[in-house]
Amino acid sequence: MLYKRAIPLIIVFVMGLLAFVHEFVPHPLSAAFREEMTTWFRIIGGFGMFIGLYSLLHMHATRIRRKQLGWGYSLFVFLGALGMIVLGLVNEPHGPLGSAPEDGTVFDWFYMNVQVPCGATIFSLLAFFMASAAFRTFRARNLDAALLLGAAVIVMFGRIPLSAMISDVFPQAADVLLEYPNLAAKRGILLGISLGAISQSLRILFGIERSYLGGGSE
């Protein structure tokens, strides 16, 4: 158990303490320590990316192997991913060990004409869902919801150029709403979240919070 649980927790505490203390020390050694550590994390980050990508592909692979619901579509995920990886590594002028694929390669063509339009369009669907929800379910059921919808209308009308043509009062109303009540409430929320973040960091340092460890058996 020692090397599976105790030592990692000690590493977290020591590393956290060093990171905390070095923030207050102006000595060149502390700047060198920070540069070395951040260089490490920059390199480890690349491996971290692969874990994310691998686990996603693994999920789709098991879905295909077990013929679970919608496995046919997972096949397309696989085809899309493997196709892009092969095209990316072919990268004819430079080859896999040259610089990244540039304009005019088939890899770039697929990015510009498949990934970009799909990504942009899927997110634009939300405009339709919002319009229908606005009509069917956004009700000023109590004072709070009424205030919310009122402020929303002021901002929505104030931020379009059309309203400025009618009179300056609308953009100014939107600005006042954003620069006073919105600013005050968002600052209150930000302070609350920050205190929460500090207490979570503290719990991690002292090993009270261990959920991030994960990684197989206890």
């Binding site: 905390f20 923030e23 207050f24 020390v25 102006p26 000595h27 060149p28 050694l29 700047a31 999920m59 430079h94 040259g98 997110f123 939300l126 869902f129 919002m130 229908s132 929800a133 069917r136 379910t137 956004f138 009700r139 000023a140 059921r141 709070d144 919801a145 919310l148 919808l149 929303a152 929320i189 302070l191 609350g192 979240i193 205190l195 929460g196 500090i198 207490s199 979570q200 503290l202 719990r203 002292f206 009270i208 919070e209 959920s211 991030y212 994960g214």
Partner: protein
């Protein structure tokens, strides 16, 4: 440490480098607390400044004793601080010329010069190093980085010309360019080390006051006064002292409350309005004899919001089982599903009805975001539950869920820490647990020391922030910048 003595110690010509710089700083730090509390001292200082008459033409040098040089505190040792008192004859045309020389140049009598206008460069301009005491307004101050006067010589790195590069094959060219880049990086590191070495040496300073026509040296015993200093790396940034104190105190408060919560689980937490709304909604579902839907968010078991959702689920399941109403729990994460099944089974056994538990009531509906929302919507429309509870972390799909839920006429209660989705839950749901309310509900129900302690500890932090804001504004409006200076972040 005798702060008063440190200030009056006159600096001998070849005195050892300014050893008392640390205690000087300490002195000004202590003075900050002492004199700014006494408004009287503030008034006295402004009076003295106001009534210094501007003597025409005749140039007078500042007082020799006030001309001093020392290592700048709270820095990496690359700068020397030089300060001197205000001269009676200061004004637009009048400027100071600071002369800097290294060991060899000083013996050869060669000095680098730096012009400082007499209306600028006050010591009070650098609170992160020297604090806020009003005395600093009556001292001129300049940072000097010797490496800017004595630049290290960069070495030329041979680079292949454009034509040579054309002739090489791509891989050869890449290798050569990488070699050149490596050499250049080594040269850059060498120069940086060289600059640190240069900054670390001892330097000699002389000061003169001039108005274009006359130049007058600050002299002591007929000779222009020479002071020496050397930059040294320091171990603590005094400007960040408030950050350190706040961090350590706040962490101590949190740790303290967590330990207290371990000993006494029913630490006080106020009633959470949202939980009453949940109980009423369960009552309504019982009257109408229709099921309750509990919809998990997208978070995994590690997220605070999912832990909160599971704690609330435990209470809902027990209460519903007592009123003999079915609870269906919608999941999108296998681990969260397993935990939820365990929680519901345990709640049913506690309520004395272990047989009522059916694993199909806690299904894994769909893995990813939009298909999860669509699948849950399909079930909601077909089964028309009386009450829908949505707890956890939500993203864009919150709109799809809330819209369909509302259109089936069910009572909806949402609880999420995703602040971007709250604007959509509030107008569609009957009650919404906002941000930290969700964590508070979870701590209120589970009485878990980690959650309870953090919540109460954070409350102490919030209390401090509230008081600091109100008191700070009040004092600042009255002209006392004590709190504003204390909270300054450098």
């Amino acid at each position: 440490m005798r702060p008063q003595a440190a200030r009056r110690k006159t600096q001998a010509v070849s005195g050892k480098p300014q050893a008392s710089s640390r205690c000087y700083l300490l002195a000004s730090g202590l003075q900050l607390a002492a004199c700014s509390l006494r408004p009287g001292a503030l008034l006295a200082a402004t009076l003295v400044l106001a009534c210094t008459p501007l003597i025409a033409a005749e140039l007078v040098a500042p007082e020799a004793a006030s001309f001093r040089a020392y290592d700048r505190p709270s820095d990496d040792g690359n700068a020397i601080g030089v300060e001197w008192g205000l001269a009676p004859t200061e004004g637009e045309g009048v400027a100071y010329v600071l002369e800097v020389a290294s060991e060899e140049d000083y013996r050869a009598g060669k000095f680098h010069t730096r012009r400082v206008p007499s209306v600028a460069a006050f010591k009070a301009d650098h609170p992160e190093y020297y604090g806020f005491s009003p005395a600093l307004k009556r001292l001129h101050y300049v940072h000097v980085e010797p490496a800017k006067f004595y630049r290290p010589q960069p070495r030329r790195i041979a680079e292949p010309s454009k034509e040579e590069q054309q002739k090489m094959s791509p891989t050869a060219r890449a290798r050569v360019l990488a070699g050149v880049a490596y050499e250049q990086r080594k040269e850059r590191d060498r120069l940086a080390a060289e600059r640190r070495r240069i900054n670390g040496q001892t330097y000699y300073f002389r000061l003169a006051i001039t108005d274009g026509r006359q130049t007058l040296y600050v002299s002591e015993g007929g000779q222009p006064k020479v002071v020496t200093a050397a930059g040294r790396p320091n171990l603590f940034k005094w400007g960040k002292a408030n950050n350190l104190v706040f961090s350590v105190l706040f962490c101590a408060v949190i740790a303290g409350f967590i330990r207290a919560a371990r000993r006494n689980p029913n630490l006080f937490i106020r009633k959470i309005a949202g939980l009453e709304a949940v109980d009423e909604a369960i009552g309504r579902a019982t009257e109408m004899g229709r099921p309750i839907y509990f919809v998990h968010g997208l978070g995994g078991m590690g997220d605070l919001s999912t832990i909160a959702a599971v704690n609330i689920l435990a209470r809902v399941a027990r209460r519903a089982c007592e009123y003999d109403t079915r609870v269906r729990v919608m999941n999108n994460d296998p681990i969260v599903m397993a935990v939820s099944q365990e929680v519901v089974k345990q709640a049913y056994t506690e309520a004395g009805r272990p047989d009522a538990y059916n694993p199909d009531d806690v299904p894994l509906v769909a893995p990813d975001q939009f298909s999860y929302a669509a699948a849950v919507n399909g079930r909601m429309v077909r089964e028309r539950p009386a009450t829908i509870l949505m707890m956890g972390t939500f993203a864009a799909e919150s709109l799809l869920l809330a819209e369909t839920g509302a259109s089936t006429g069910a009572i909806q209660i949402a609880g999420t820490d995703s602040y971007t989705q709250l604007p959509f839950f509030i107008p569609t749901c009957d009650y919404t647990l906002m941000g930290e309310e969700l964590y508070a509900a979870s701590a209120y129900l589970s009485r878990e020391p980690k959650l309870l302690g953090s919540l109460r500890g954070q409350d102490v932090g919030k209390a401090f922030l509230m008081i600091a804001a109100v008191l700070g504004t009040l004092l600042a409006t009255l002209g006392l910048h004590w709190i504003s200076d204390l909270l300054r972040a450098f």
